[in-house]
Subunit: 255 residues, 4 copies
């Protein structure tokens, strides 16, 4: 196998499409968002490319006994009253620093091939605490993009994210800019501890405003409710544990 093998699964004509990337990352916000988008627009979606690479883990996933080699996938989506989309998803990031550059370059090549000049990288930004109001923080490749994104509800902050943006999302901004793409990274706030469907919804709602598609959030909300239950149980356990901690008096007794 070569370092990179791209399977052209289907050819689809798209009109000025936008590439939307949702690979795994903080709180799985980006991948949840991209997968939900594809589920809701399933009737309009076609798998067009599979990207295999030695930069991915040497692994197959297995479902009902049938194995599938690790890859990233790009779907073409013809949105009825909105912009056409190329949606990039997958179960893995590259395994090395170098690999992120290799894969992002491949993704940009495919975006170019389909005539895309705009990119949206979806992800999460960790806050370290549980969240009530889900802000969407942004970063862009060109200053000129700030205003229209702010109008759509994206927040730009002086020094955030403090550590920069790493992986494919970061490089879609960095390498994308060098190749003439207009890229925005939309990062939903998330605790960073748990898979976060609410943060994914916040990101998708911004994207709806920007790109003119409309999706239902019922299944995503159901997953959010399931996560709420998990969080509730964790908090209960924590309270219980605090009550079980021996006090000074207990300790004296043992001594």
């Amino acid at each position: 196998m070569d370092e990179l093998e791209i399977d052209a699964v289907a050819e689809v004509e798209l009109d000025d499409p936008v590439l939307v990337e949702g690979l795994p990352g903080v709180g799985h916000v980006g991948s949840l968002a991209a997968e939900h988008l594809l589920e809701e627009l399933e009737g309009e979606s076609t798998l067009v490319r599979r990207i295999y690479s030695r930069e991915f883990p040497p692994k197959v996933s297995v479902e009902d006994g049938v194995a599938e080699l690790t890859c990233a996938e790009i779907y073409a989506v013809s949105v009825p009253d909105g912009r056409d989309l190329l949606v990039l998803t997958g179960d893995h990031q590259a395994q090395t620093n170098d690999g992120h550059y290799v894969l992002t370059t491949a993704f940009l090549d495919i975006a170019e091939e389909f005539g895309a000049t705009e990119l949206y990288a979806l992800g999460g930004v960790p806050t370290g605490e549980l969240i009530d109001e889900y802000a969407v923080v942004g970063a862009v490749s060109h200053e000129s993009m700030l205003e229209s994104l702010e109008d759509a509800g994206v927040e730009f902050r002086e020094d955030e994210p403090a550590g920069g943006i790493v992986g494919v999302s970061g490089l879609l901004l960095g390498l994308g800019e060098r190749r003439g793409f207009e890229t925005a990274c939309l990062m939903g706030e998330t605790s960073g501890y748990l898979v976060d469907p609410k943060s994914a919804r916040a990101v998708l709602e911004v994207l709806e405003t920007l790109l003119g598609f409309e999706v239902d959030y019922e299944t995503l909300d159901e997953r959010a409710d399931e996560m709420e239950d998990v969080i509730g149980k964790i908090q209960e356990m924590e309270q219980q544990q605090q009550m079980d901690v021996p006090t000074d008096d207990d300790l004296r007794y043992i001594g």
Copy 2:
């Protein structure tokens, strides 16, 4: 030395052979099975290829003072009343993610060269606890293979193995499928803590049914008995230790 050097040790004509891979992994199930197969069919086996690679650890093994460079080996086996075999064994997996792709590609090249179109990757699947009944769990490259394997006693489960299959076994499925091979991975259940000859036997028995060879299990059973002794001693020590743990009363006394 090049990244990959393949020594053609001998040439053997095989009739529609099946490649059987047994490299080290969980519970050494795959390598135990492949080595037992070669020992039992020694009279019919010929070493045909040695695969050296910079992806292997930079190491020689030493036996009676004579050093041998780390490599993988492929034996041709002409089974009297069964399918011809190519058996792949060795002491090491590749040392990097990338290396698994490189080595698996080399193994597939050799399988192709000998006219093999079917592959069996042998291994173990960890259960985390000691086992009485050794089920053999399967994964296949093509859905059409499920039925005949189920008839041979292989179990296919909805979400197992949960983490997928990594290393050469996984890539024989994934890369093999991309090159037109029919691959099955047969994974014997095993605790994951110990070398497990019983699990290797369970895997071999399935393979016997599928490929029509017959082997004796005496030496494998002897190794299983030795492992039982080891397990027995570990359990005894654990019980002893539990008895030695000071009780609350003991602690009070010290205080």
Copy 3:
């Protein structure tokens, strides 16, 4: 993206320039020094090269919402009454051993392109304790350079730095020498625990003597004062903690 991409941002004619490197390292001494130099000589500085590489982390930094791809930068500085400078800065070192060789080779290529034959690598040498007098320790590519540097106040010690010099600074000496450059590494003593503007000043003062430029230290001194406050608070906390440690008597009481 290729392993290395060099953007020629501007062309500037320099007269026998000296390359001054200040990438991140111990106590951030080198990068503080290089950045201060550029701030103080801003009117005379021109960004001439940006160096992008797959050896850098796959990352963008974000400021006020606008992303910038990780790179190293080289500025041309025409110093009024001193030697012309090429100042090399950046936020990151290479991420692999191999990468340090790749990047240093690129930096030497650019130095050569601008006609530089002398290099100064700036950095810190860790002492493991807080420092009052900031000595500047040196290392050179050619014995003939020792005397003039000693005259400028640089100290050369028998076995220091004991572990040698790693990263780009080390390779500017080692690879530079192989390509005919005269290189000196100037290392300010620093505790190694904190960002150290005082050590950066000590290094710059030596460089002033050697190269004939003159800079103001007000902003660097302000940063040093801020660090003093931080150190003060840490020491206070440590003392407080020591007072809180239970004495033998306390422990007896608990028992």
Copy 4:
């Protein structure tokens, strides 16, 4: 810099030379032995090759202020009444698995260039305890070599070293054999915890018998005496600590 750069420092005609390798490893036995050999035969030695590589750490060592880039060195030694030698030394091994293959290949190329067909890799084999009698354990590339080495006092054991031989010493055996060299690895027993000049002497004495040179051991014995002092102090400290451990009675008193 290329992945590998070999400087031809001098050309020397040798008569059927033997390459002796002593790079750092267990107990520094190999490097101590090679360095002692070069010191004692200094009058007959000429540095002929320096090997630089991106596989070495990106580092310079510094002595009296002058930096030297990490490399390996090969000396030609014309021994008056013995076999001519090529002695390979250096301060570092390769930093990656792959790098060991790259460097060993380079060393074999140079051995070939000087007409060597026999190689001796010197090293230590860890025993895990302090040693009185320093046996020298061997491994060879060809069974035919066993007898003459046994006559010279080398011990060959059934399963030793148990974990095989890694790094350049191992690959001189493994890759050397593939290229037609006769290689022996001579490993002095050593605790594995400390630099061990006595083990280095044991290895050199075997080599003297085999190759017909004669060296004085005074300086090596002095270093051994220094190490004895270190060991003595460690043992003293350990005994002291044992005496300081509180007994059960002490503990009861505190409670």
